[in-house]
């Protein structure tokens, strides 16, 4: 069975993608999990309820455990992907930089484990990483839990001894050479750099001769312009130098051994480490969902067995953000949908399309285990969802709006199965009204007995029989005198906003009043010539008569 809940267009147009992109995961593990999110399907109600219960506990954690949640955010910060390094530890010795990164990650894991050890936080065990303290001890021989790394002397006694030997030998060598440098300056007036060398131009014959003559110096490098002299090592110094080089090699060997040992330890613990990365990913993602729920005032949807969608005071998040962003207040919309066809009619600019998007967004979010932006919601799981909303993309493809609608309608018919949700916005409005109305009615007839929840928005008059009819309230209760007053001095953009302000987006049972006729009112308010409006009214009367 093709387990696809919806197509990309539906997820984008409904605003679901917008919500997913707003998820603020903090770690690479959380981001990975967010990319792999899967919806729950009919039959998985119990699993989804568990998931939502978990999310509820995370919301509690965010609200009631502010300090811990802030600490966790701090731990998540700068967390790096380390699964690649862990995998590499199987086949090769890790570099010091990689070991450093592993140590930083282990410290973070330990901090998370400890944080929840001392907190009675409502975090499910499956989100809490397994303790890695023993492995961390191996990488942190000083047990100071600092996020720094070096092949410390504590890793190997031999290493400590070697380094001490090297240090002493270097000091001796330097002392010897410094004495030589000082003597040279004092006795012959020859000044060497801190690196015990001296570069001289061939053209400076006098100086060159002087340096050539100094038996304390030897030529290190020369070309046709320059001669570089260095302090000649005494036999003692040369012996020390050789000693230092020998120790250095031994140190490198020993460091390699330490790294090899540590890499082995990491591979031995790889199963736990991979598991922990999964857990941290889940924790991060679920916390991001909780954050999202709090920020957007979302509630836990009630998951029901029947195929029904009940949304009280639902908000389409993109629209809400755009309205509140302009300082307006968003009007939520409630709706109850059952299998069969629901028709939404209402004024232009009455919010019908936004309501459709809101329904799709809410249902999709719920099935992906999110809380939903409304006051209350009862969601029956769907097997398939598709929304058909006209947009400019298909026009760019060279299809007429009608053509692309029909293409998508076919897709809907091909994919629908039991428990589908079909949302269709003003289909066939771009063709001649006689055929458009006929087609709309026949599609409704075709769908009304199917086991789908179907919602249409339309301006066509459709029969009342066997379908639920809703109507956007629109400007029905608005004071036109007041609107006219306000609009008189407004510019184009303000006019739209003023109409928006008086518009009632709520959906009510349509009753028998036929389809509302607000189009002329709105056209007039938007400044269309009076002559045109009056003439339209005349035509309208003639038609009615």
């Amino acid at each position: 069975m093709n387990r696809r809940l919806s197509n990309v267009r539906t997820r984008q147009r409904s605003g679901f993608e917008y919500a997913v992109n707003a998820l603020d995961t903090a770690t690479p593990y959380g981001r990975k999990k967010a990319g792999e999110m899967k919806p729950f399907f009919p039959g998985e109600e119990e699993e989804l309820r568990d998931e939502l219960d978990t999310l509820e506990r995370m919301v509690e954690f965010k609200r009631d455990y502010v300090a811990q949640s802030a600490e966790l955010a701090l731990i998540f910060m700068d967390m790096r992907e380390c699964t690649g390094t862990v995998a590499s530890s199987k086949t090769r010795t890790l570099s010091t930089v990689e070991l450093y990164e592993m140590k930083c990650m282990l410290i973070k894991i330990e901090q998370i484990t400890k944080l929840f050890d001392k907190t009675e936080a409502p975090i499910p065990d499956r989100f809490i990483p397994v303790s890695v303290s023993r492995l961390l001890d191996r990488l942190d021989p000083r047990q100071d839990r600092m996020a720094t790394f070096y092949i410390y002397e504590e890793f190997s006694e031999k290493l400590a001894t070697l380094r001490e030997e090297k240090r002493k030998a270097e000091l001796e060598l330097r002392k010897g050479m410094k004495a030589g440098k000082e003597a040279l300056k004092k006795e012959k007036g020859i000044v060497l750099t801190p690196k015990f060398d001296c570069r001289i131009s061939r053209s400076d014959e006098e100086q060159l001769e002087k340096l050539m003559a100094a038996e304390e110096l030897e030529i290190a490098e020369q070309d046709n312009m320059w001669v570089t002299f260095v302090l000649k090592q005494t036999e003692e110094d040369a012996a020390r130098q050789e000693e230092i080089e020998k120790i250095s090699l031994e140190i490198e060997d020993e460091e390699e051994k330490v790294r090899e040992r540590l890499s082995g330890e990491i591979w031995k613990n790889s199963k736990i480490l991979f598991e922990n990365c999964e857990r941290i990913g889940e924790l991060d993602l679920t916390l991001a969902k909780a954050d999202f729920a709090i920020k957007h005032r979302c509630v836990k949807p009630v998951i029901i067995e029947e195929h029904r969608l009940v949304i009280k005071e639902g908000r389409q998040m993109e629209a809400e953000e755009s309205v509140t962003g302009k300082g307006g207040s968003y009007m939520p919309v409630s709706v109850e949908l059952y299998q069969g066809v629901t028709c939404i009619t209402g004024a232009n600019m009455g919010g019908k399309t936004i309501s459709l998007k809101m329904i799709a967004q809410t249902a999709l979010l719920a099935q992906y285990g999110f809380f939903v932006p409304c006051r209350e919601a009862e969601i029956g799981l769907s097997a398939y969802m598709q929304m058909l909303v006209g947009d400019s993309q298909s026009v760019e493809r060279g299809l007429s709006s009608f053509g692309s609608e029909m293409e998508e309608l076919k897709e809907i018919f091909d994919h629908c199965r039991e428990r589908s949700v079909i949302l269709v916005d003003e289909i066939a409005s771009g063709t001649n009204p006689a055929e458009g109305a006929a087609l709309t009615k026949s599609i409704i007839d075709f769908l009304k007995d199917k086991p789908y929840i179907t919602v249409f928005t339309t301006h066509f008059d459709v029969p009342d029989k066997d379908i639920q009819k809703l109507r956007a309230v629109g400007l029905e209760n608005a004071d036109f005198g007041k609107i006219g007053e306000e609009i008189r001095y407004a510019n184009r953009k303000e006019r739209i906003n003023i109409i928006g302000k008086y518009m009632d987006y709520r959906l009510i049972p349509a009753g028998d009043g036929g389809i509302p006729k607000d189009a002329l009112n709105i056209a007039s308010m938007l400044g269309i010539d009076k002559e045109v409006i009056e003439k339209a009214k005349v035509y309208l009367k003639g038609e009615d008569a």
């Binding site: 930089v97 450093y100 720094t148 380094r163 053209s203």
Partner: protein, 338 residues
């Protein structure tokens, strides 16, 4: 009393800039490091990032390979970490990327040679320096641009050390004059508070030439090339009191302006590195009444001189140092080889 002591009283970050290649920049850096070792002073060492120099970085011809004492803080890219001769404790992996890996902030655990690299962006350089200071460096030294043409803007540092020397000219007086010219340019007067400054700050992000005439800003259509100067001449004739030039400031521009109008206007530059007017022209225009001010200038903390030129000639070290000191009475001058 060494140079370092003098510096540490006044500055927390200092970058070393060469007047030209072979002016002794690396020698100056080594000298300061050596001084710090003798004084037991804890340094932070970083470098001005130069992207696209991978081969040079690996062979070490551009990046300084310096001997660092235990406890020095240093920035090293991940790919050079394993090549380092010193023992380096990784303190932090920074967000700054270079062509040879992310930069690591390290503490020298065992002294030895280290190849230093730094971030490319000035803002990152600033952050890195303050991190080093927070981690206990008493002073941070940035191995700065190789020659003055490479300085794009005032560095992230509090002040710069200019390394100059015989490489500039066979004539010692000329070396001194050129260096003094540069130091003087760097110290150019800042534009005073007022309407002109407010306007420039307001519109600086446009990155456009701006004429200010009695508190009014105008942005001429600049076509590029010498035509610009004629527009400028016209603007000055029309009474502009300030001309802000965000890009290069050249002698060509000045030549086009009617000499009698020159003293009526103040040229304002982003910073002194935008000036491409040679010493002779500069002096001539100053005599004619040219006024140039900058939005940001550069503090010169010290000058180091190298009496030896790669072309072979050599000045008397003490004579060079004394002559330079006389030309720059307010700035310490050192020959790091003496």
């Amino acid at each position: 009393m060494g140079l370092l002591n003098e510096l540490k009283e006044k500055y927390r970050t200092v970058s070393i800039v060469g007047m030209a290649k072979n002016a002794g920049k690396t020698t100056a850096l080594n000298f300061l490091i050596e001084e710090a070792m003798d004084e037991g002073m804890r340094l932070g060492i970083t470098s001005t990032g130069r992207d696209g120099e991978t081969t040079d970085l690996v062979t070490g011809t551009e990046k300084p390979r310096v001997y660092l004492d235990e406890d020095t803080l240093v920035s090293v890219p991940t790919e050079l970490y394993d090549l380092s001769d010193a023992g380096l404790e990784i303190l932090k992996m920074t967000e700054y990327r270079t062509s040879i890996g992310r930069l690591l902030l390290c503490r020298v655990a065992q002294s030895g040679y280290v190849q230093v690299a730094g971030p490319v962006a000035t803002s990152q350089q600033k952050t890195l320096c303050s991190e080093m200071l927070d981690m206990g460096a008493e002073m941070v030294i940035i191995d700065g641009a190789i020659d003055r043409k490479a300085i794009a803007a005032p560095d992230a540092s509090d002040a710069i050390i200019i390394s100059t020397g015989a490489v500039i000219s066979r004539n010692m007086n000329k070396v001194v004059e050129e260096t003094a010219h540069m130091v003087n340019l760097y110290g150019l007067e800042l534009l005073e508070e007022g309407t002109a400054k407010d306007l420039i700050e307001k519109y600086a992000s446009r990155d456009k030439v701006m004429f200010i005439n009695d508190g009014q800003a105008d942005f001429p259509e600049i076509l590029g090339g010498l035509g610009n100067s004629r527009i400028m001449d016209q603007a000055v004739a029309d009474g502009a009191d300030h001309i802000y030039i965000p890009g290069a400031f050249t002698a060509g521009m000045l030549h086009e302006i009617n000499p009698s109008n020159l003293k009526k206007v103040t040229f304002v530059l982003k910073d002194p590195t935008r000036i491409f007017v040679n010493r002779g022209d500069w002096a001539r225009f100053l005599k004619k009444g040219m006024r140039v001010k900058v939005m940001e200038n550069i503090k010169v903390a010290a000058v180091t001189v190298n009496p030896q030129a790669p072309a072979g000639y050599r000045f008397d070290p003490e004579e060079l140092r004394d002559l330079m000191q006389k030309a720059l009475p307010d700035i310490p001058v050192t020959d790091v080889r003496i």
